[in-house]
Structure formats: structure tokens, C-alpha cells
């Protein structure tokens, strides 16, 4: 977002305009160089052409002289002088005395090509030849025509370049205006987002150009940001709600003891505090799982590389099931285990161990009847029980932090177990699906699908 005070500065700050000036400038510079080079080439070529003409003329005159005698030569010289022809002819004696015709500045006994320059008059190109019989012939022509032609040729690219530069400037001006307008919408919207209105989104023009792609990316980023902020807000509310209870009770206990001078129920107070600490620990774990591997929450809280090693998921599931099976049996509940052998998985072993423990704790505490643990290739871990299950409308609720069903309020737990299961599954690129276990729609089956990371 740039908003300098005066518009002059603003235009200089425009990227498109700077670009346009640069394009126009380099077009002009290149054209200048091109024009110079063109002029040089044209000038040289025209001079060579003129030399050929002079040589041809001189040859004609010499042939006439040899065939018809000096009279022809003198006549031709006089005629050219009379007519003020473009081609000048001068006949001299060997010592430089003019016999007929005149060429200003021609030296005596000139031989070969020479350029004659005299102030105030056009330069001449002259060719001198000594003829048998002591006669010197000089033929000359004005260079001005050739020079004019070369100059005219050189001007052409220059004029074209000036035109192109002007058009480039004009186009850039409009491009800059358009760019300015589209960026202004981004800047304005970003300012609103920065002030806290996370619901704002950039307009997509539908042209599918790089601007639209940028806008789509920014909008996606804002979606994620908004979701995260909303989740954060939700968590804050939940924490306030769930921690205030035990802390309030603790405060009442201490206050009552202070007022009455009586005794604090210490085990009860410690139990309340432990509940608070458990909730804190569970929240931290969920936050870390949600942040994903290696993302970290501030300094040093990220999961290390060691948390992402490959391990035998089948063995882990069997070990955890092994620990819980006697608990189910002691409670008079059936415990079924079906583990696909040799399922390898790359992930956080301790976290998966914990969420499987959470699921079994849930099945034992909140569920009823038989319990089943199935690990299928995929890998998909399903922990099911034949209890009352969770109604379809409440399945989202129990996956949320502190989301507890009314009938479970009196049972122990933080209400964070399934939220951690969900966060952990998603951190491993998977998801959690709740559904009935039995064919008649009873029971609860929690499917933890861990699609990615298999090998």
C-alpha cells in the first residue's frame, strides 16, 4: 500500500510507468544507433556509386579523345561548363593550365579519385587522368546529392523510433492506469483485513490472467486465516468455559476455608487442579497436532524429526489392544481384535498410540457392550463399541473441543479426546469418520483413516 502525498510522486512510483519509460527510452536509443549506422552505410555506398559514374564518364571521354582527337574533349568540357551540368569536365595542360571547362579547387595534374572541398560550395568528387599528348582530364560531380540521400535514409528509422516510443509511452500509461485500479482494490481490501474484517475477499474478474491467479491465492490464504482465527476464538471460548468451572470451585473451597478458618478438602482441591492441568495438557497436544509436524508453536515446541519415523502400525495396534483387552474383560465386555499384518506407517508413533488409547478409553467409559478393534490396510483403524452410539446430528459436536454429549457430562474426561483424534488424523493427512457399528444402526464405530504416509 503506497499513498504518497502528491500525485507526481505517485506516478514516479508506478512500476508500469517506469517500465514504459524504460521501453520507450531503449527503443529511441537503439534507433539512434541504427540510424547512425544506416547513414554511414548509405553514404559509403552512394560515394562508391558516384565513383563508378565518374570512372565511366572519364572512360567515355578518353575513348572519344583517342578516336577523335582533343577537339572532342575540349567541346565536351565547354558544353558541361555551359550547361552547368551535374557532371563537370576540365581539360588541363600537364602543368595545370585550364584548356577548357572549370572545376573549382582542382589541383594541377590530378590523378585518381579525390574529394574537393571548398568553403561555401558543395563538395565535389573528382577523378583525374593523364592522357597521351600531355593533356590532363578531370571529371567531377557534386557530392551533395549523395549526402542528402544518405541523410534521408538515416532519418527513416529515427522517425519510426520516435513514433514507437510515443506509442509505448501511451500504452504504458493506460496499462499503468489499469494496474493502478486493480492494485487499489487489493490494497483497500488488505487494509480492511488488517483492521480485522477477515470476511473480505478480493473480486475475481474471470479473465484467468495472472492477476486472477494471485487473487485466488490471496483469497484462499484469507479463507485459511479466517478459519484459523475462528477456530482460535472458539477454543478461547471453550477454554474459558471449561476451565472456569474447576477454578471457580477451587477458589470457593479456599475462600470458605479462609473465612471459616476451617479445613480445605485437600484431595478434592488437588483433584480439581489436576483436572485443570489435564485439560491444559490436552489442549496443548491438540494445538500441536493441528499445527502439524515440524510446524511448531513458537520456539522449540515443534515435533521433532524423530516423531516422523516409519514404524510397524500393526505391532503398535496389537500392543495397545493387548494393554486394554484385560480391562474390557474385567468389565465383562467382549473384546475383538482384527489386525492386518505388516502395515507400515510413517508418522508420530506416540501420538497414534495416544489416540488409539483415547478411543479405547472412550469405548470403555462412554460406550457399552462388545468392543472391536480393526486395523485394515489403507491404513484404517476402527475402534467400535455396541453402546448407544452418537446420533448423526451430534457427530460433529463430539469431534469438537469440549464437545460432550449431555449423557456423558457426569463421566470422567476432558471432552478433548476425540478432538485430539481428529487433529492427529488430519495432521497425518487423514480424517475421522463416525458412524454406527452394527447393521441395525446401533453402536459407534470411529474410523481413523490414515491414507497418506503409507509405504
Amino acid at each position: 500500500m503506497f499513498a504518497p502525498a502528491d500525485t507526481g510522486m505517485r506516478w514516479l512510483n508506478s512500476f508500469a510507468l517506469r517500465m514504459a519509460v524504460a521501453v520507450a527510452g531503449s527503443a529511441l536509443l537503439l534507433s539512434l544507433v541504427g540510424a547512425g549506422w544506416g547513414w554511414l552505410r548509405a553514404d559509403t555506398a552512394l560515394r562508391q556509386e558516384l565513383d563508378l559514374v565518374l570512372a565511366g564518364e572519364a572512360e567515355g571521354l578518353i575513348r572519344d579523345y583517342e578516336a577523335l582527337g582533343p577537339g572532342v574533349l575540349l567541346e565536351a568540357a565547354r558544353a558541361s561548363a555551359r550547361r552547368e551540368a551535374l557532371l563537370l569536365v576540365l581539360v588541363q595542360t600537364a602543368d595545370g593550365q585550364a584548356l577548357a571547362g572549370s572545376i573549382t579547387g582542382a589541383p594541377a595534374s590530378l590523378r585518381g579519385f579525390v574529394t574537393l572541398r571548398s568553403p561555401g560550395r558543395p563538395s565535389l568528387r573528382a577523378l583525374g587522368a593523364m592522357l597521351p599528348g600531355g593533356v590532363n582530364l578531370v571529371v567531377a560531380a557534386s557530392l551533395s546529392a549523395a549526402e542528402d540521400a544518405a541523410r534521408a535514409l538515416a532519418w527513416t528509422p529515427l522517425v519510426a523510433a520516435i513514433g514507437a516510443g510515443g506509442v509505448a509511452l501511451l500504452l504504458a500509461f493506460f496499462a499503468a492506469r489499469a494496474l493502478e485500479r486493480r492494485l487499489a482494490s487489493v490494497s483497500g481490501m488488505s487494509a480492511e483485513v488488517a483492521q480485522g474484517d477477515l470476511s473480505r475477499r478480493l473480486p475475481v474478474t474471470g479473465r484467468g490472467d495472472e492477476f486472477d491467479r494471485l487473487v485466488v491465492t490471496v483469497n484462499f490464504m484469507l479463507d485459511r486465516l479466517q478459519a484459523l482465527v475462528l477456530a482460535q476464538r472458539q477454543v478461547t471460548d471453550d477454554i474459558a468455559h471449561d476451565l472456569r468451572g474447576p477454578l471457580q470451585r477451587l477458589r470457593q473451597m479456599l475462600e470458605a476455608a479462609e473465612r471459616g478458618g476451617g479445613r480445605v478438602d485437600l484431595p478434592a482441591a488437588i483433584a480439581e487442579l489436576d483436572a485443570v492441568l489435564d485439560t491444559f495438557a490436552a489442549l496443548l497436544r491438540i494445538a500441536r497436532a493441528e499445527a502439524g509436524p515440524g510446524a511448531g508453536l513458537g520456539a522449540g515446541l515443534g515435533a521433532g524429526e524423530g516423531a516422523r519415523a516409519e514404524f510397524d502400525l500393526s505391532a503398535m495396534v496389537r500392543a495397545v489392544a493387548d494393554a486394554y483387552a484385560p480391562v474390557a474383560e474385567e468389565a465383562g465386555r467382549g473384546f475383538g481384535l482384527d489386525v492386518a499384518p505388516g502395515v507400515m506407517f510413517r508418522g508420530d508413533l506416540a501420538l497414534l498410540q495416544r489416540i488409539m488409547g483415547n478411543l479405547l478409553d472412550n469405548a470403555l467409559t462412554h460406550g457399552a457392550g462388545d468392543i472391536s478393534v480393526v486395523l485394515a490396510a489403507g491404513p484404517v483403524l476402527t475402534v467400535a463399541d455396541a453402546g448407544p452410539g452418537v446420533a448423526a446430528a451430534e457427530r460433529d459436536l463430539v469431534l469438537r473441543r469440549f464437545g460432550r454429549l449431555d449423557r456423558s457430562r457426569s463421566t470422567p474426561g476432558t471432552g478433548l479426546g476425540l478432538a485430539l483424534v481428529k487433529a492427529a488424523a488430519e495432521a497425518h493427512g487423514g480424517r475421522v469418520v463416525l458412524g454406527p457399528w452394527l447393521a441395525d444402526g446401533r453402536g459407534l464405530a470411529v474410523r481413523v483413516e490414515l491414507f497418506r504416509n503409507t509405504s
Binding site: D322, Y324, P326, L351
Partner: protein, 227 residues
Amino acid sequence: MKILVIEDDRATADYIARGLAEEGHATEVARTGKDGLFLAMSESFDVIVTDRMLPPPDGLAIVRTLRASAISTPVLMLTALGDVERRVEGLDAGADDYLGKPFAFSELHARLRALARRPAGAENAESELVVGGLRMNLLRRTVTLAGVAIELLPTEWRLLEYMMRHPGEVLTRTMLLERVWDFAFDPTTNVVDVHVSRLRRKLEGPDGPALIRTVRGAGYVLDVRPG
């Protein structure tokens, strides 16, 4: 036992020191990593308790320095970040055990006792463990109580083996979960209690003498008694 406590939080340090003194241990408290490292290097202790986050050098640096200097005093690391990766990091640095804050004093004490008793490097050298009338042959994988063979499931075997390596010591549920099951979490259901009571039933029978004693609010002890 002579115990060094390196902890910069005054309240926590006092709490640990007072608790250990009540249990009859001699305790030195260092409030900075520098002092702690100096004490650990210059005096001999049975066990060292160090906080992980200290004004430099931190707990990890202290343990690394001690191990580099061939001082093998058992070290228990305390931390506010009681999570698994941290635990692995601490153990990799050379700490022998790891305890997340906040903790119950009974948990800390049980772990310190287990650490101080641990004979360095001897765990794998033995072929037979004997506690009272209980004999466990590690090579033939047999257990006998007063000469009578007892059949154990693999989990029960691991549980008993760990208890027999620490006879007479209070073993907390968390310690058992970590060492026997390799779990880094506390189940909300009574997983440990169920397994211990099953083992107990196999060892003690309906009316045999009690071998595994429950310590209320702390854990279990395998009683040392000649049988």
C-alpha cells in the same frame, strides 16, 4: 541418598528440597545452570535432578557436559514441556529419566529411587532375577515361586521382570506404562491396575501371601521378603 537439585524456580526448588529432606535425603540446591554444573562436576551425588530450561547452560547442556566428562551419575530431567519428543531429546542427551511439570512429589521420589538403585549397565548381564521366593530365569523364560512354575502372558512377564529389577521400590503407574508398555500417555481407564491385579492373582493365588503391595495414591511395590 545425596541428591543435587538444579532448578531456577525458587518455589519448585524449595518444594523438591523439602520433600526430599523429609524422606531423609541430603539435598543440595543450585539455582543456576552454572552453579549446578560446577557442583555436579566437583562433588559426588547419587542422583541429579535438573530442570530443562535454565539460565545457560540449560539442562541438556549440563547432561551432555557431565556425560562428556565421563560422570555417569543418574540424571532426571524436569520440564514444563512434558511431551514425548522432548523426552526423547532429553534421553538422547544422556538423561536417564524425564518428568513433565507439574508432577506429584510421590512420582518424582519413586523415579529418583529407581534411578539411584539402577546398577549401571547390569540390566542385560543377568540371567536370573531373584526376589524372595520368586525366581525369574531370563534365558529359559521361566518363573517359579517357591519352586512352583507359574505361566505368564508376555505382558505379565514384562511387568514382573520390571518389578523384579526394582524390588522394594514404589513404581508409579506412569513409570509402569512407560517401561512395560512403552506408552507415553496415561489412559483414563485403569489399564495398569487391571494388569497388576491379574499378575497378582497368578502369583498369590486366592489365599497366598501378598507379594505386590498397592501404595495408595502412588503405585505398586514388589515386596522383598525371603520366602
